[in-house]
Each structure stands twice: as structure tokens, then as C-alpha cells.
């Protein structure tokens, strides 16, 4: 290929995204808080008590079963702060609107932003609105930034993971990606899931007492659980093993994924979190999560081990083992 161009896979959360970030972003900006590519950055030089993040939302369609681009933007930003060990407090909201978009749609989305921000206890502190000529964006895009206060006791890094640590998931994985995909492809399946878009900050708050035993937290968005675990394990002296039999997938998501030939390990959630913790803390974290409605389906899905260093392996229900990798192409563009 003579002239390099951006392809959809660059935004997939898979191999191309990883390589793009490594080659184009980290090389230019990687000597500060960005080096470890956290969802939310600590700002050690000036305000170590703050967590800072930003995100953009281009989901299509704007309104989908279970939510819309507005609550998705609030939850996504809140969750990035939460899994970085922060208590979300302030948001910025930048709207990019396409000429001709019905104002009723804009109002619906803004109402959702207001309601979900309120529910999460965050304040929309600043914002911006731009309108572009018809055809120059698809309806509406939203860009956000978020600031949170660092919670005490969390010291999160993939490098702290040790063999023996447990991998925990807060509930069904992949419902958001499947819900958006099903509505976009016009698949009307009885029992297809609604999006799981929701905040996870209460799940993080709930395990504050266990904070020192928590090694790593992440919300499995683009690229799904596979992308999160692949990121944790890259270049490390341990491997991660996931039990297929314990993976929390909703019946509806499984049915749609089978029909479309998707691997749910690669599909995005927008209201779930993954934590890797010391083995002795796992039962307490699970019981604290299960006491909350958003953590009712929390399960232990696997472990870190000394074998398969630098790799993620799935122990299948039939007793086999296989590699879990990053998706190489674009599975679901514009999922969030």
C-alpha cells in the first residue's frame, strides 16, 4: 500500500489501535502521565489529588435500546475516572451538531446528559457547541472531559499484578455492543439485550476498603474483555487465564453473537468493570459488588498465573485451551 490512510480498524480497540497509539501517540506524548495509557491521568506535578480524562462519542444510531449518545457520554467519562481510582466530580460537554438534525433529538440527548450527570453526582461545568454543514458529521458527536478526586488507597497498575491474583467482572459483558449492532443491522430478535450503559463509580466506591489489594481496574469498552486483558498482560512476566464456563454473557447477547459470528470477548460494555485483585480480597469485593444493583451479576472469571507469560488464555468449557487475542480488523465501528 503506497499511501497510508486512516482505516476503521485504527479505532477498533484491537491490534491496529494498539499499534497506532504506540507509534503515533506515545512517541510524541509518552513522557508524562500518558506513558502507561491510563483511562484517566493523575497529575503528579501539580495536583496529585485529581484524575483527568477525556473521551469522544460517535455512536450510531444516536438513540439505541437502553440509552442514547448523551447518557453514554456521561457514563463513559464517569467510568474512565472511576476505574482510574477517582471519584467523578466535573464534566465538560462539547457538542458537534449537523445542520438539519431535529432539535427534538438534541433535547432528548441533553435531557439524558442532565439526568445521568445528576444521578452520578457530577456537574457539567463547561461546554461548547459547534454546528457543521449537512453531510459533514453524522447527526451529532459529543466530546467530553472529566475531572475527579483521587480516592485514597488505590495504586493501580498492570505491573502490580502477580500470579495468583483473581480477575473479577461486575456483570454481563458485551450487551452494549450487541444492542447497538442488532438495531443497526435491523435484527429484530426477541430477547436481544438492551445496552448496559451505566455508571460504575459506585462499584469503585464500594471497594474502597479493599483498595490496596486492587491491582488494576478497567471498563471493558471497545475491544471488550479481550482488549482489557491483552493490555494488562503485554510484556509482563505473568499470564492471564479466563474460564469460559464462568464468563458472564446474557442469553440474548449470546444468541445474537452466535448469529452474527461475533466473539463476545471482543464486544463492548458501557456499564461494567473488570478488576484484578489479590486472591484474599476477591470474596469481599464480589460480595460488596453483589450488594449493589449494578454489581448483582459479579463473578470471578479467572486468574493470573506463571504460565503463558504475556498471553491471555481461555480455558474452554470442553476442557481445551486457546489464545485470546486482540481483534485484527474492525468488528463494530461507531459503537460508542
Amino acid at each position: 500500500m503506497s499511501e497510508e490512510t486512516v482505516v476503521l480498524g485504527h479505532g477498533s480497540g484491537g491490534l491496529l489501535t494498539r499499534d497506532f497509539i504506540k507509534q503515533e501517540i506515545v512517541t510524541r506524548f509518552g513522557d508524562g502521565p500518558l506513558a502507561e495509557l491510563p483511562d484517566g491521568a493523575r497529575l503528579p506535578a501539580c495536583r496529585p489529588d485529581l484524575v483527568f480524562t477525556c473521551d469522544s462519542y460517535v455512536v450510531s444510531p444516536l438513540i439505541f435500546p437502553g440509552g442514547n449518545i448523551g447518557d453514554l457520554a456521561v457514563h463513559g467519562t464517569v467510568n474512565d475516572i472511576a476505574v482510574s481510582g477517582g471519584d467523578p466530580r466535573w464534566l465538560s460537554v462539547g457538542l458537534i451538531l449537523e445542520e438539519g438534525l431535529p432539535l427534538a433529538t438534541v433535547r432528548t440527548v441533553l435531557d439524558s446528559i442532565a439526568q445521568s450527570a445528576d444521578a452520578c453526582g457530577v456537574t457539567v461545568a463547561t461546554g461548547d457547541t459547534k454546528v457543521v454543514v449537512r453531510g459533514q458529521c453524522d447527526g451529532m458527536y459529543i466530546n467530553t472531559a472529566g475531572i475527579g478526586e483521587a480516592l485514597e488507597g488505590f495504586e493501580l497498575s498492570a505491573r502490580r499484578v502477580k500470579p495468583g491474583d483473581r480477575i473479577l467482572a461486575s456483570g454481563f459483558l458485551g450487551d452494549h455492543g450487541i444492542a447497538v449492532m442488532a438495531v443497526r443491522k435491523g435484527i429484530a430478535i426477541h430477547g436481544a439485550p438492551a445496552s448496559d450503559t451505566a455508571p460504575v463509580h459506585n462499584l469503585v466506591r464500594a471497594i474502597g476498603e479493599c483498595a490496596p489489594q486492587v491491582r488494576f481496574m478497567r471498563d471493558p469498552t471497545r475491544g471488550g474483555l479481550a482488549a482489557v486483558l491483552s493490555e494488562v498482560v503485554a510484556g509482563q512476566a505473568f499470564g492471564l487465564e479466563v474460564d469460559e464456563a464462568n464468563l458472564p454473557f446474557s442469553p440474548g447477547a449470546r444468541a445474537v453473537a452466535e448469529l452474527l459470528g461475533l466473539d463476545l470477548l471482543h464486544v463492548a460494555s458501557e456499564g461494567r468493570m473488570i478488576a484484578i485483585c489479590a486472591p484474599e480480597a476477591a470474596p469481599e469485593i464480589l460480595s460488596k459488588w453483589r450488594a449493589l444493583p449494578e454489581g448483582a451479576g459479579a463473578v470471578d472469571i479467572g486468574r493470573a498465573g506463571e504460565h503463558d507469560k504475556g498471553r491471555v488464555v481461555l480455558a474452554t468449557t470442553i476442557g481445551g485451551r486457546r489464545l485470546v487475542g486482540l481483534p485484527s480488523g474492525e468488528l463494530l465501528p461507531r459503537i460508542c
Partner: protein, 361 residues
């Protein structure tokens, strides 16, 4: 959910695995079982089935990936048409396959009209929508895919669609398996037969192999379907019995799909065909009958499709014969990855190299 969990049940898997171990322990020599179908290859890798195999059982991946066995020359012909302004309609797998003269993906980026279709019917819609252009569908496939593709000929005839034709690379599975069995470089003791091909041609089509002493099981795509097939074949081999067993009765009938076969009879005629890796095999392809020749793009536009040159160093040919494990190809994972594939077996979602890269490595 019984169609997912029922066919992935751990207890049933443990039971079958014990039977498999027992049969394997009594074998006098290592046995080679070929899974013919590319979707089986993918399912085996994805479920980690290979690790359950006793040392005396080796699973060989066969030539059952249509894109993979289509020779480079065919792609060169398709690219030539694309560059001359034809609308090329194709299944998605073909788009990224590299040839010496480029790929359809690169041709599309350079402005050629390459349209991905989920069904051959989509190609007819394209022809209807562009009456002033010629639409050529890349008719690549085995018996399973041939059936829906040739129904578009009937539709085109019925609706008077003149600007539609097929660039045919239809392939027949049984003659290819005969060629593999006869190949002294390849050692096969039994076949796990391709389920969707069997749905069309019927499980009886594999009886000749059974008669020659190679037991055959037609199996579904779920992990337990395949494990059952392997266990059954191991037990048959150990007992020295050759039998034909249709495990996939929920889809496959002994005589196949009568309507599809009647259509084959009406529109197709067996021809010699060129397979990547396997070479030219007598009667292993289908061409269109004279009466349907106007829908044959080769005939209509005077194209000759040669074998073509495989990409340098690519050993897809040996992989397709079950002679080489993908990870033993010098290009695998280094210069040949799903992002920059050197050969078709790394591109296709049914390709053996792709299955290894994703799930085994």
C-alpha cells in the same frame, strides 16, 4: 439455549474425551484425521479441541476454504475486470486476498468498483441498479455456495437482466479429497466430512472413501459435534472398521438436497479445475452448461484464467494439503499476519493460518 450449551457441555466432553483416550491407547500407529471444512478448522481452534487430542491422533486441516484454494490467476482475472471498469461483486473474504497484481481492496482504494455482498442476490440488485454497467459476481465456492449462486442465473433470466454474469471458480469437494488420498506425500486415515457441503450433496457422496477403507463422519460445527466425530473415527480405526456415519442428522440427509442437485444437473457440467496447492484435478470443478454460457463472464468477455503465481515464500499450498502446520511456515506471524496477509489462508475467516494466528500461535 440448548443449541449453544448443549453442544458445549463439559460432562459430555469429558465422557467423549475418555472414550477417545481409551481408543487411542489401543492404536498400533499414529492416525491422521482430516477435517475438510474451514469452518471446522476455525471451530477446533476456537474451542481448544486440539489440546484434547491424544498423541496418537493428529488433526490435519484440509482444503475446505474456497477463497484459499482459488488460484492466484483467478484473482488476476478479477482484478483486470475491476480495472477495466466492471462492477465486481464479491463475498467479503476475497477482498483482502493478495495477488502479485494487487488485491481487490487496493483496486477499490484506487477507484475500482468492488462491492461486498452478503448474498448473491445483492449482486443482482447491483445489476438492476446499474443497467449501463456490467456486473460480474466472483462465483467462488463449494457445493454449498454454488446452489444459491446459480439461482441468480434463473432470476436474471426471468427478469431479463442482461448485464450480469459470473466469473466461475466453482469447486467440488469429493474429487479434491480423492486427489489428496492418492497423493503419496499426504497421509490420511479418516475424514471429518464437511457438513454444509454434505447438506447439498448428501452424506452418501462419501461412501466411495469408506469403501476404500477410510472411515468418514459427517459432523456439525459445535465443539461436541466435532469431538464426537473424532472419538467415533478413533474407535472405528482402532477396531479396523470403515463406516460412514452421519452425526449431523439435524441438517444432513443421505441423498442431500434434491432441489439443489436438480439445479446443478440443469445448469452445471463437471470440468477440470485448478486448486491452489493441489494443482489441476480432473472433474473437480463445475462450469456453466452451454445454455447458460451468456452468464459466464469468462466466455462472454474472452477471459483466460491461468494458475497464476503465488506470493513469494507463501506456503498456503502445503497448508491446504495438510502437509504443513501454519506456524511452521517461515512467513507465519512475521511477514504474514491478518493485518498484512501474504496468502489467502491468513485472510479468510475459514483459513487455517488465520485460525492458528487468532487462537493457537
Amino acid at each position: 439455549m440448548k443449541y449453544i450449551d448443549g453442544f458445549r457441555d463439559p460432562d459430555a466432553a469429558a465422557y467423549l474425551t475418555r472414550r477417545l483416550q481409551a481408543a487411542a491407547a489401543r492404536m498400533s500407529r499414529p492416525m491422521h484425521l482430516m477435517e475438510v471444512c474451514g469452518t471446522h478448522t476455525m471451530a477446533i481452534a476456537r474451542s481448544g479441541l486440539r489440546q484434547l487430542m491424544p498423541p496418537s491422533i493428529e488433526l490435519l486441516s484440509g482444503p475446505g476454504c474456497p477463497v484459499c484454494v482459488t488460484p492466484a490467476g483467478y484473482l488476476n482475472a478479477a482484478l483486470a475486470l475491476a480495472r477495466q471498469g466492471f462492477i465486481i461483486a464479491t463475498f467479503g473474504d476475497m477482498v483482502r486476498v493478495p495477488a502479485a497484481s494487487g488485491s481487490l481492496e487496493a483496486a477499490r482504494a484506487a477507484g475500482a468498483a468492488v462491492e461486498v455482498c452478503y448474498s448473491p442476490e445483492n449482486a443482482l440488485h447491483l445489476a438492476r441498479a446499474h443497467p449501463d454497467r456490467q456486473v460480474v459476481f466472483l462465483a467462488v465456492g463449494f457445493e454449498t455456495t454454488i446452489a444459491p449462486i446459480i439461482t441468480t442465473i434463473l432470476s436474471a433470466r426471468q427478469n431479463g437482466i442482461e448485464n450480469y454474469s459470473l466469473l466461475c471458480a466453482f469447486k467440488r469437494i469429493p474429487p479434491a479429497l480423492s486427489a489428496l488420498v492418492a497423493d503419496p506425500e499426504v497421509s490420511i486415515d479418516a475424514f471429518i466430512c464437511p457438513p454444509h457441503v454434505s447438506a447439498i450433496i448428501g452424506s452418501q457422496a462419501f461412501q466411495p472413501f469408506v469403501a476404500d477403507g477410510l472411515p468418514c463422519v459427517v459432523a456439525g460445527f459445535e465443539p461436541l459435534d466435532i469431538l464426537y466425530a473424532v472419538t467415533t473415527l478413533a474407535e472405528l480405526l482402532q477396531a479396523g472398521r470403515s463406516e460412514l456415519i452421519n452425526q449431523y442428522e439435524r441438517v444432513v440427509r443421505p441423498g442431500g438436497n434434491k432441489r439443489a442437485l436438480a439445479l446443478f444437473e440443469r445448469l452445471l457440467t463437471p470440468i477440470d479445475a485448478e486448486w491452489r496447492g493441489l494443482g489441476a484435478i480432473p472433474d473437480s470443478g463445475y462450469g456453466l452448461v452451454r445454455d447458460a454460457a451468456r452468464y459466464d463472464a469468462g466466455e462472454r468477455f474472452g477471459l483466460t484464467v491461468g494458475p497464476g503465481l503465488d506470493p513469494s515464500g507463501c506456503r498456503c499450498g502445503d497448508v491446504l494439503k495438510g502437509k504443513l502446520r501454519p506456524d511452521r511456515c517461515p512467513l507465519f506471524g512475521r511477514v504474514c499476519t491478518p493485518i498484512e496477509p501474504a496468502g489467502p489462508c491468513m485472510v479468510s475467516s475459514e483459513g487455517t493460518c488465520s485460525a492458528y494466528f487468532k487462537y493457537v500461535q
